[in-house]
Symmetry: C2
Subunit: 197 residues, 2 copies
């Protein structure tokens, strides 16, 4: 009678957890609702109760990705006041995540942008708000445009380094060094002097 001992309401999270693992080793292409159902020990129609279609699952995955990355960045911020170290820690947290969960990053920042569900959009906004807080000046009179430009370039560079590593153009150690060098270069630029404290 304990034929299906699990999922007295936890099937949704069980599917998501399993999906993260599959994603990590087989990419988006390896993700199938039927396969996830099989792994969870339920019928192939069961996931339908929690995700209307495959895209809904992918959206939910992107949302958890944004939340996990946000908490990683928050962790990197804990107890750091020096600007240089703050940037370095955030940068490494971001790039590490992007490399370890490259396929998930593709779901979070899809190349063919589909209209984003509101819950995913909210999770994305939380991440950007956290990043803003991490990089923003604490002085109110700082040039707003310069700061936003600086933030964008910083995010772009980190995302780019992660892509280089994830696609095997450079190895991880090289990527780590690039993160350091990029951070130093950007903090040393004239843009930075008007953008951050």
């Amino acid at each position: 009678m304990t034929e299906r001992p699990f999922h007295h309401g936890s099937l949704r999270t069980a599917l998501l957890d399993e999906a993260v693992l599959v994603l990590r080793e087989s990419g988006v292409h390896g993700l199938s609702l039927r396969d996830l159902a099989r792994r969870a020990g339920v019928s192939h129609g069961a996931p339908r109760s929690h995700f209307v279609d495959r895209q809904a699952l992918l959206d939910a995955l992107a949302e958890t990705g944004f939340r996990r990355l946000t908490s990683r960045v928050e962790l990197a911020l804990a107890g750091q006041d020096d600007v240089r170290h703050r940037f370095l820690r955030v940068a490494h947290a971001y790039v590490d995540f992007a490399i370890d969960d490259a396929a998930l990053m593709d779901l979070m920042f899809p190349a063919s942008p589909s209209p984003r569900s509101s819950t995913v959009a909210a999770a994305a906004r939380d991440l950007f708000a956290t990043l803003d807080g991490a990089m923003g000046s604490r002085r109110a009179d700082t040039d707003e445009v310069a700061r936003e430009t600086f933030e964008m370039l910083f995010a772009a560079t980190m995302q780019g380094i992660a892509t280089l590593v994830a696609s095997n153009r450079i190895d991880r150690a090289r990527g780590d060094r690039l993160v350091d060098e990029a951070t130093e270069m950007m903090l040393g630029s004239t843009l930075a002097t008007t953008a951050v404290t």
Copy 2:
């Protein structure tokens, strides 16, 4: 008797050309061998004569992508001697391509890196060699390590900006301005003074 007037040997390129279009409007997910065969007016088994499996088609697409991007960069280099303008033109050429063919870029720089076929690898090397030539110093005694680092950071930043635009985080005009600003910032850094002429 002209039931199938095309493809007296051109089916391969016909499939590839069609695939680029499908890729552009439906992403990798919308690419199906059977659908391509249908559009070309051949049976579903016909593509097999030119591509052993779906991955072989994706590899071929990546290869053509590298070749097209290489020629775009070469075009951007034509008749430009000033360093600043050279960088700006190459950067815009790169980012424009990455935005217009974002899905193709994902095939060229896959998140879950599969072992790359030798022909794809060769096409990729051609692109990197061209980029090296575009950005490299003409003086032989320049610091080699600094130059390579500078090249990597430049490529990473451009790829990152393209990702931001392709995933709709910023619009295209903002991306264009970021390209300009990033180029100025990088050329103004101390890294650049030891890396480029």
